[in-house]
Symmetry: C2
Subunit: 117 residues, 2 copies
DNA sequence: TACCGATATGTCGAGTGGTGCATAACCAAA
DNA sequence: TTTGGTTATGCACCACTCGACATATCGGTA
C-alpha cells in the first residue's frame, strides 16, 4: 500500500453563489497583503491576473464587504491593499483553516491510518 | 450580509495519483452496499455508470485493495458487493468524515460567525 | 441454447473553468 | 504632457471532466 496524504478544500457559500470565500481567495488576500498589488499577488500565486481579479471581485460582491482598497495610476502604476475588514477576514479564515487542518490530521491518525499499513 | 454555510471536500492522495479515495468514492461504495450493483448505485447517485465504473477501478488500483467483489451474468445479469475490506474502508471513512464535519461546524462558530453578522 | 440484465471499455461531444491576449482607463512623476 | 506600470474587462481558445452512446462479454435460468 502506498503512503497516503490527506487533502481537503474548504469554502463558504451563500444561497445564490457557491464559491463566496475559500482557500483560493484566502491565499489571494494574503498575497495581496504581502505583495502590495493584485498583479504581484497573482504572479506569486501563479494564477492569471484575469482570474485573480475575477475572484477578488466575486468575493467582495458576495460578501458585500470591501476587502481591499485599490488605486490606479501613480509612479508604480497602482496598488492594492487590504482594508481592516480584509485583514479580519484573512486572520479569521487562517484560524478557521488551521483548526480544520489539525482536525483532518488527527482524524486521519484515528480512523484511516490503521487501514493503510 | 447573506447567510453563509460551510463547504468542504475531503480526499486522500498518493504520490502518483490525486483522487485515490474521497467523498465521491465513499458515497459510491456506500450505495453499492445498499443497492447491490454498480449500475443501481450509479443510478441512485445520479452519476453515469461510466464514471462510477471508472472511479471504482481507480480506487481499487490506487489503494491496491479489493474493495468490491463483482459478478457478471446470472439471473439478474450481475452484481457488485463490498468485500470485508471495502466495508472497513466505508466505515473508517464515515467516521473520518464525520469528525471533520463536526470540526468544520465548530470552527465556523468559533472563527467566522462573528464576521458575518 | 437463447435470453436478459449487469459488468467492461472505448470514443466523442458538451460544459466548465482558467489562460492568454487585446485594449481601456487611470494618475503620480518626470 | 508624455510615460510607465497597474487596475479593469471582454473574448477567444484550451485542457479537463463528465455524460451519452455504442458495443462486447459474461453466465444463471427458462
Amino acid at each position: 500500500m502506498k503512503k497516503l496524504r490527506t487533502r481537503f478544500k474548504l469554502w463558504l457559500s451563500s444561497k445564490d453563489a457557491e464559491g463566496v470565500f475559500g482557500d483560493g481567495k484566502w491565499r489571494l488576500l494574503k498575497n495581496i497583503d504581502t505583495e502590495g498589488s493584485l498583479k504581484a499577488a497573482s504572479h506569486s500565486l501563479r494564477i492569471s491576473y484575469r482570474k485573480a481579479w475575477g475572484d477578488l471581485k466575486k468575493a467582495q460582491q458576495c460578501l458585500n464587504v470591501p476587502l481591499v482598497e485599490k488605486q490606479r495610476g501613480g509612479i508604480q502604476g497602482g496598488r492594492t491593499a487590504l482594508t481592516e475588514q480584509g485583514k479580519k477576514w484573512v486572520n479569521a479564515y487562517t484560524r478557521f483553516r488551521s483548526d480544520i487542518e489539525k482536525a483532518v490530521d488527527k482524524a486521519y491518525e484515528k480512523h484511516i491510518k490503521e487501514l493503510v499499513k
